[in-house]
Every structure is written in C-alpha cells, then in structure tokens.
C-alpha cells in the first residue's frame, strides 16, 4: 500500500490474544532501550466469582488493547511541546525532532495514551513514527506485519471512516473527543465502555 493521505491504525480486540508480537517487533526494529515501549499491549481484566444456591458463578472477563501513538487529529503533545520538537507532518504523523527536544517530558504528562516515551540514555523523548520508512518502502508498519492473528491493521483514516464510521474507544482508553486519535477499535464482546472502572490493568509492569 502506498503512503496514505493520513494513516490510521485499526485494532480488532476480538482477535487479539495478547501475545505482544507487535510490541517486540517495534522494540526490535527501533532498537528501543529497556523500559521504552512505543507500542504497549494492555490487559484489561475484571469480574468475580460469587457463591449462589446452585454453586459458584463467575462474570470474569479479560481483553487486550494494543496501543501506540495514534497520531491524533488534535494532538495535545504537539500543542504543549515548548520547543516544537514534537511536530505533525502533512500526513498527520506525529514525531520528535531530537535536535530540538529538551527532554522536559511535558508531552508524556499530557498524552492520554502514554505514547511519548522518555529515553534516559538519550535525554530526549522518543515515539512511534508509524514506521514511515517501512510505509515509504511499500511495506506495512512492523507491528502490523508481526501480528499473527491480524488483529492489528492499518489504512487511510478517511477510507476507514467511510467503512467503519467515526473512531470509537473502550475502557481504559480515553474518550475519542480528548485528542481525536487515528485509531479504530473493534470492541471485544466483554469490552467495558470508556470511563468504566470495572476492569483493572492486569499487566502494569508491561505497559
């Protein structure tokens, strides 16, 4: 696929098994330092077992969300960056200019996806650039290419809008209105609505 006018991610939570091949492919391709994760797979888990007259019943649920930078249409990281190091190009791809970044971390405070990641080694912010080099070479982003269940896809934002409607979100993602992400999520059957606290992040050490 050639470079779309505005690339967007499409994540089908029904298909994701939480294998984290997308995270590892991203870390491998970009040689990311330990602790720096441009893509993270969050496991949202909740429910309980209750004793009834007939025995125990459960409503336990668990689902995964694979999230990187969503190259938002209203990117709060770009607006708040004091140096203009965090910038958005004509394709809507948000990236960091290391020559300008002062390493103040203000972008990571504000991003509701935790997308900008600070590198202690570099003293600067780092983040997903949608694998621009891969896309320009006619290949998909490595996270998409690595997904064994095809849960993670990518395409043109407007084309996906025409096919799927407006992007939507589920807990624990922020509301779409916060930054207007270029991310379409197909909810898992047990997905909780945005703002729900019924589920907890079951793998905080991994995200």
């Amino acid at each position: 696929m050639p470079m779309p006018a505005r690339p967007a991610f499409l994540f089908d939570s029904r298909l994701c098994t939480g294998c984290k091949a997308c995270m590892i492919a991203c870390k491998d391709k970009n040689d990311l330092d330990p602790g720096v994760r441009w893509r993270r797979v969050t496991e949202c888990t909740g429910g309980e077992w209750t004793r009834t007259a007939e025995g125990y019943r459960q409503n336990v649920f668990s689902y995964y969300l694979s999230v990187s930078c969503n190259h938002c249409e209203d990117p709060i990281c770009v607006q708040s960056c004091p140096t203009t190091a965090m910038h958005q190009d004509g394709n809507g791809i948000v990236s960091v200019d290391p020559k300008k970044c002062v390493g103040c971390k203000y972008c990571s405070w504000s991003c509701p996806y935790g997308a900008p990641q600070y590198s202690e080694r570099l003293g600067r912010m780092t983040k997903c650039d949608f694998c621009r080099d891969e896309i320009e070479a006619g290949r998909p982003p490595v996270c998409v290419a690595a997904c064994p269940s095809r849960a993670l896809q990518w395409g043109d934002l407007e084309a996906l809008r025409g096919k799927l409607g407006q992007p939507m979100a589920v807990a624990p993602l922020p509301p779409v209105s916060a930054t207007r992400p270029a991310l379409f999520v197909t909810p898992h059957r047990d997905a909780r609505p945005v703002g729900s606290t019924a589920g907890l992040k079951a793998n905080p050490e991994e995200v």
Binding site: A85, V102, P172, A178
Partner: protein, 292 residues
C-alpha cells in the same frame, strides 16, 4: 508518587519571588508600614517604601536565579533550553519559560538599581509586578492540562495564587523589618514598619490558608496518594503555625521590639516555605492522566 523534586522547588521558589514582587509595589503604595511617630509622614513612608522595594529585590534576584538553575535539573538535554521559547503560540510551558525569564531579569535589574542606593523607578517596579502576574498566570495554565483532571480544576489556580501571596507577604514582612543603614538614617526607628504591616501579612497568610484548604477540598476525591493525608496535614498545620508566628511578631512590633519581630517574621517565612513545599509534593502526587 510522581516525583519531580526539581519542579517542586522551582514552582514554590518562583511563586515566592513573584508574590513578593507583586505585593511590594502594593505595600509601598498603601504605606503598609503605618504612621511613624516623630517623623514627617512623607519621609517615613518614602523610607519604608524603599526598604520594602530594596529588600524584595535583594531576595527575589537570587531566588529567581536559583530557580532557573534548579529548573535545568528537570531537563534531559539542558543545552536545548533556549529552544523552549519556540512555541509561544500554543504552548503554555513556552510562555511560562518566557515570563519566568522576564521576571528573573526584572528582579536582577531591580536589585542592581537598589544596590546602587538610588532606588528603582516606579516603572521598573511596575514591570516587575506585571512580569510576576504573567508568570503566575502561565505557570497555572501549564498544569491545567485537559487530560489531567485533578489539576484541570480549581486546585491549581487556588494553590498557586495562595502560595504566591502567602510567601510574598512573608518576604515583604521580613524585607520591611530588615535593618539597613541609609534607610534607617532617613527616618530612624520610626521608618521601620509598624505592627500594621505584620498584622496585614498575618491576615494574608490566614486568607491563603483558607484558600489552600478549599483547594484541597476541590481536589477530592482525587487520585489516592501514598502519604497524602500526612502531606496535607503538614501543609495546613505549618501554614497555620506561620500565621500564628506572624501574629506574635505583630505583638513584638507593637512593643517596639523590632529585632524580636524580625526574628519571628523570619521564622514565619521559613514555616510558610516548609508548608508550601509539603503542599507542592502533594500537588504533584495528585497527577493522574485519563486513559492509559
């Protein structure tokens, strides 16, 4: 907890300097020192105004210089610091850095002018007060992020303005009481501030204490902060003690014990600083953004 020690120190110290530079012209205009006895009112008032202006400038300049150095500790690549002024159009952080720099510049120029013994012009003092106001406004907006609910409410403006007024009043009180050869020669002991100045400083402290308590209530229920109850208690108790010590200083001043009043005003300022630092650690601990 969200540990940003350099930012805790930076924000509190800048607010102290900004509060003092905002209150100093007000204190001078209002003749806070009160009427002296045996000295022409104009002479005594002029001497008191200079005493406050000089003291505040001599405190604000080194405090602002230290604050700017401390702020560099927060940066991963300090050499790129000049580039933080490139995004004034949309970034409140860029604006905060601009106005903090201007405030530091005003403080240094005021200190140099006062150090030469001629006193700073009212225009320069006014510029300092304006820079202080702009600095407080931009600093407040830096933390009012729409993705951080605990900060994006009344807590941030109330806590920051209360801190600036409270610490600023403390600095003005100490500056007004500090002995100085040439201003003392103008009006003698009577040129020192009266009990009115200290009583007003105590009143500002008490009012700021109430605002701080309201700000904490506004932040409830908020994210759970480890040790948060202890920090909130230390914050409010230290500020209450500061107000009490300022009231004691007022009584000393009424009894014409100026050295005693100065010692107590210094203690009150130290207590206020400790209280604000505890409150600021709690403020940063309340950080929790929406989403992931």
């Amino acid at each position: 907890m969200f540990h940003e020690w350099s930012l805790v120190l930076f924000t509190v110290l800048v607010q102290m300097a900004a509060g003092a530079m905002l209150l100093a012209p007000v204190a001078s205009l209002a003749g806070l020192a009160g009427a002296g006895s045996g000295v022409p009112a104009g002479l005594a008032g002029c001497s008191r105004a200079r005493r406050v202006s000089r003291g505040v400038a001599l405190v604000a300049a080194p405090v602002m210089a230290a604050s700017l150095l401390i702020s560099l500790l927060h940066l991963g690549t300090p050499l790129n610091a000049p580039k933080t002024l490139l995004h004034l159009g949309t970034s409140w952080l860029s604006r905060e850095i601009l106005f903090t720099g201007l405030l530091a510049l005003c403080a240094v120029v005021l200190a140099v002018a006062e150090g030469r013994g001629k006193g700073a012009s009212p225009v320069l003092r006014g510029a300092g007060a304006l820079a202080a106001a702009a600095c407080l406004l931009s600093m407040t907006n830096v933390y009012m992020l729409r993705t951080v609910p605990a900060w994006n409410g009344p807590l941030t403006p109330l806590a920051f303005v209360a801190a600036a007024l409270l610490l600023g009043a403390g600095v003005v009180a100490v500056a007004a009481l500090w002995p100085h050869a040439d201003t003392d020669a103008d009006g003698g002991e009577a040129a020192r501030p009266g009990a009115t100045a200290l009583a007003l400083a105590a009143l500002v402290t008490l009012a700021a204490l109430v605002v701080h308590a309201l700000a904490l209530l506004a932040a409830m229920p908020g994210p759970v902060v480890p040790g948060g109850m202890g920090l909130a208690t230390a914050h409010l108790v230290l500020l209450a003690l500061s107000a009490g010590v300022l009231l004691a200083a007022t009584l000393r001043a009424r009894a014409a014990d100026i050295p005693g009043a100065l010692r107590l005003a210094g203690l009150a300022l130290a207590l206020a600083l400790a209280g604000e630092l505890a409150g600021r650690v709690l403020f940063f601990g309340l950080y929790a953004r929406i989403g992931l």
